[in-house]
């Protein structure tokens, strides 16, 4: 929230880094350079632009019913935004369903603002260019209001427990032409794809670090990416069909991963390569 526009100033620095000569003699220095690059990125985060737009969207009367989302209940009562993301996904009695943030936003856009479900889900992700996603902006705003809050995802309701167990089963589900499961890349400690470090999402410390750094502004895409996007793009690389936005499987897997991050301080929207 502080210094929202620092990101723009930092853009020039990234451009300079991106254009720097890429001839790297040693493996070690390549890894060091990437670490330094990531460190510099922390200086300013364009995610702040998404947060600002999301806050405006949240408070603006929109949709067929011309109301704002300020009466939307994200789990801590209508209109409460502070700290809600650290307890999501959770079971919502009104929908009789476990919901993550994106599912709940769609629910409120449909039930409060009167959008048709297809309209509410029309642009789940920005296209990396001129078509930005309202949902990603709302996600940026809501998640930024949980920065510094300790992750506390409950499995007390039987449907929450079931979502967690279904998500865990999905994590180990091998399929597709490459036989990949989530566990293929994220079930072991200290591994990399190319130079990219892979978190072991079954290990508490790794799961905490990974989960609390999403959503994130992706420098290479010029977009703020939600956790739904993270899963969608993992499954693409897994050679699976397209994961449906806010589907039961996406919420179950998010429940599994979010619960594995319990106890960590939420620290996003972050910034990544």
């Amino acid at each position: 929230m502080i210094n929202r526009h620092a990101g723009i100033r930092a853009l020039m620095l990234w451009t300079a880094l991106a254009l720097a000569p890429g001839a790297i003699a040693q493996q070690k220095s390549a890894v060091d350079d990437i670490a330094r690059y990531r460190e510099l990125l922390q200086d300013g985060n364009p995610a702040e632009l998404w947060e600002l737009r999301g806050e405006t969207l949240w408070k603006t009367a929109r949709g067929p019913k011309k109301v704002s989302l300020e009466q939307c209940d994200l789990g801590k009562g209508p209109g409460v935004v502070k700290g809600v993301y650290a307890s999501l996904p959770k079971y919502f009695a009104d929908a009789d369903r476990v919901m993550d943030l994106e599912s709940r936003l769609v629910y409120c856009m449909v039930n409060l603002q009167g959008y048709a479900p297809t309209d509410a889900k029309k642009q789940p992700f920005g296209n990396g260019n001129d078509r930005k996603s309202d949902i990603e902006a709302l996600v940026a705003y809501i998640t930024s209001e949980s920065k510094g809050v300790v992750m506390n995802v409950s499995l007390a309701h039987p449907k929450e427990m079931e979502a967690y167990r279904l998500g865990k089963a999905m994590f180990f589900h091998r399929g597709g032409p490459h036989d990949f499961a989530c566990a293929t890349c994220h079930g072991d400690t200290g591994k990399r794809i190319r130079l990219q470090d892979l978190p072991n999402l079954l290990l508490q410390s790794d799961a905490q670090r990974a989960y609390t750094s999403w959503p994130a502004y992706r420098v290479s895409q010029g977009e703020l990416r939600s956790f739904q996007w993270r899963l969608y793009d993992c499954f693409r690389q897994q050679r699976f069909p397209e994961l449906e936005f806010t589907s039961d499987a996406s919420v179950a897997l998010t429940t599994f991963l979010a619960h594995n991050a319990n106890g960590a301080v939420f620290n996003a929207p972050a910034i990544k390569r």
Partner: protein, 219 residues
């Protein structure tokens, strides 16, 4: 006192039995609402069928599992696989390997290097008319020149130098690329030949990258 002790023992034994019965009944009641692991796995598969949509070349049948995929999904890692199960899978997968009809296992290492670098193919956004890559570098170190390599698989730098280039090694290497599960059940490595990711010629080229003495892998 000496008479009291057995009575006390009997009483406490009865209390333990009652407590155990109560605990058992509570467990049974809990289980009535709690699905078994097998039920959860079946429910997860059904849930996935309604949570994905086909896109490009990626149809929903990609969520269906063959014996290897279904069996390996039950274990958190290949290390936890029982020996008899591993042997059964390896035997069935060995029978799938089709070696080149001309008996030649080695192609061109330069073409193999390009295949090893290429990470595209079979994704829903990939053009299915273009050949897939093997993306070896995602998981393995190969040539000393390529510093951007992953570590999910073992390093293969010096692969041919260590093993020689005998017909047996050539056949083993081709077979391993064709169907890794025949040699190491529940391996993370894709079955490039069995699942039609690479063509016969592409697999020969990757064998050459690993075994040709002229390949930088062996320099």
């Amino acid at each position: 006192m000496s008479v009291m002790i057995p009575t006390a023992k009997k009483k406490s034994a009865l209390a333990v039995a009652v407590a155990a019965l109560v605990a058992f009944l509570a467990l049974v009641a809990g289980c009535a609402t709690m699905l078994s692991d097998n039920d959860i796995a079946a429910k997860a598969t059904a849930m996935m069928k309604t949570s994905f949509r086909e896109s490009g070349q990626a149809k929903l049948d990609r969520l269906d599992q063959d014996d290897v995929q279904a069996t390996c999904s039950q274990y958190e890692s290949a290390q936890k696989l029982p020996k008899d199960v591993a042997e059964r899978l390896e035997k069935s997968q060995m029978a799938t390997i089709r070696y080149p009809a001309d008996g030649k296992m080695e192609g061109n290492w330069k073409a193999g290097e390009a295949i090893a670098q290429n990470g595209t193919g079979k994704q829903f956004n990939d053009d299915p008319s273009k050949p897939s890559g093997a993306n070896c570098y995602a998981c393995h170190q190969l040539t000393p020149q390529e510093l951007s390599f992953g570590t999910i698989g073992p390093p293969l730098l010096g692969y041919g130098k260590l093993r020689g280039n005998s017909p047996e090694i050539q056949k083993y290497t081709y077979g391993k690329i064709y169907n890794s599960q025949a040699f190491s059940a529940c391996s993370n490595m894709p079955r490039f030949g069995h699942n039609g990711i690479l063509t016969e010629q592409q697999m020969k080229d990757v064998v050459a990258l690993l075994l040709d003495p002229a390949s930088p892998v062996n320099k």
